[in-house]
């Protein structure tokens, strides 16, 4: 999915937190989004995800305004993801369940995702009891389950051990090649941005 941001202005009670004149996310590209704390990275992802529609300016999806159907195509792992109070398996299964995917196929998909993220061992553990890094992996697996065409990742690897980060990056690359999806990847790690992303944007 191709995203265009034009003359975007976001305010919280008269305080401008984000101002973008022109920004383009090409279809099939991985864009790294960098910037200081409070520069508006999470705010921008929220707006692009369609959760926050209260802004001035334009955000275009394939050249059109946000439509409810777009939700089915957008996946996001927020900076503080909320996992449901159920098992890891049930969390990852959720997006497939709401789309009415048959049980057999759900099972296969969830198991494959858990294998890719290397979280099979915690499959039956309740999500409230996971460590920070484990929770991020589960949130990422859950976001990938519905195979979004636009994937928004907000510091999704920040709590994950460096070896595991590399594995996850590989998995994301595989997913990216399979689907030719657009990825916006927020990170504070310049090295990671350079090795993982096709282009980088710095907000200020």
């Amino acid at each position: 999915m191709e995203i265009t941001v034009k003359n975007l202005l976001k305010k919280y009670n008269d305080k401008t937190v984000l101002k973008i004149l022109d920004l383009h996310f090409t279809k099939g590209q991985i864009t790294g989004l960098l910037g200081d704390n409070g520069s508006g990275k999470s705010t921008l992802l929220h707006i692009i995800s369609g959760l926050d529609l209260d802004y001035e300016g334009e955000v275009l999806y394939e050249g059109a305004c946000f439509k409810e159907e777009n939700r089915q195509l957008i996946g996001m792992v927020s900076q503080k993801p909320y996992l449901f109070k159920r098992s890891v398996y049930d969390n990852i299964e959720y997006p497939l369940k709401v789309r009415g995917v048959p049980k057999q196929i759900r099972q296969e998909k969830v198991h494959k995702l858990m294998k890719n993220m290397n979280i099979e061992a915690i499959s039956r553990q309740r999500a409230e009891t996971l460590s920070g890094g484990e929770a991020q992996k589960v949130a990422l697996a859950r976001a990938l389950a519905a195979r979004p065409a636009l994937l928004l990742l907000d510091e999704t690897t920040s709590n994950i051990h460096e070896d595991a980060v590399l594995t996850i990056e590989e998995q994301l690359k595989v997913y990216h090649q399979e689907t030719n999806c657009t990825i916006i990847f927020v990170t504070h790690n310049r090295m990671q941005a350079e090795r993982f992303c096709d282009q980088c944007i710095c907000l200020n």
């Binding site: 939700r71 909320y82 449901f84 709401v98 789309r99 859950r142 976001a143 519905a146």
Partner: protein, 230 residues
């Protein structure tokens, strides 16, 4: 002193020998209050979730009104329902006054602001995050509603129990609309009030003990269930 001890002994005997009048009153109390809470929950849960998530003008005002009405005196509710159901009232033709149905209606009206206010408060504080996550994962509004109920099931249960505790322990509303008629609309609290004024303490003590046990039991069960989740 002797009289009190005697009262306790007789009360104990009534409980263990399954005194029919005593148990009839206990069961009626439970049926009336449980029905009220269940009916109330049918619209408090969806409405509370909706109010908690929705942004609209005047939400502040609605919150204030709702929180303020959570502790409406039960006699006021009783009076209100009495006026509605009395023969010359708008719903007089239903002939419900001084029946258990009238008591259920009164208690439903009594617990609704409390349960609604508690559910609204919980959802307003922590519901939006769940709503957003649900929407992101592709859920529609109905699926989001179900998701929120599942995520908050323990909180909501505690809110319903709070409503039940309020209903089972109030006297004013059921007294006014039920009339405390022997064999038909007597519940635990109204019987205690009446028996005391007549100086018959055995029944009062027995009912008082049962009432206490019920509240204790309910609270123990709830908090035991609720703890491991926190």
């Amino acid at each position: 002193m002797n009289e009190i001890a005697n009262g306790f002994i007789k009360a104990f005997w009534m409980i263990v020998s399954f005194d029919p009048e005593l148990y009839e009153i206990i069961i009626r109390s439970l049926v009336v209050s449980l029905s009220a809470v269940m009916i109330s929950s049918l619209f408090c849960v969806p409405l509370g979730i909706w109010l908690g998530l929705k942004r609209f003008k005047g939400k502040q005002l609605i919150s204030r009104l709702l929180y303020a009405s959570m502790s409406t005196p039960s006699v006021v509710i009783g009076l209100l329902i009495l006026l509605m159901l009395s023969r010359r009232g708008p719903f007089g033709f239903l002939g419900l006054l001084y029946t258990p149905s009238a008591m259920i209606i009164a208690q439903t009206v009594l617990v609704t602001p409390l349960v609604l206010g508690l559910i609204y408060h919980t959802v307003k504080q922590r519901g939006r995050q769940i709503q957003q996550e649900g929407l992101l994962l592709g859920a529609d509004s109905f699926q989001v509603m179900i998701l929120i109920i599942r995520e908050f099931k323990m909180d909501f249960l505690v809110h319903l129990i709070a409503g039940f505790s309020r209903a089972i322990s109030e006297v004013g509303a059921v007294m006014i609309v039920g009339g405390n008629i022997k064999g038909s609309t007597r519940v635990m609290t109204t019987t205690i009030a009446l028996m005391n004024s007549m100086g018959e303490y055995d029944m009062s003590i027995a009912l008082g003990v049962v009432l206490l046990l019920i509240s204790l039991l309910v609270n123990i069960v709830v908090y035991k269930e609720a703890e491991p989740w926190k």
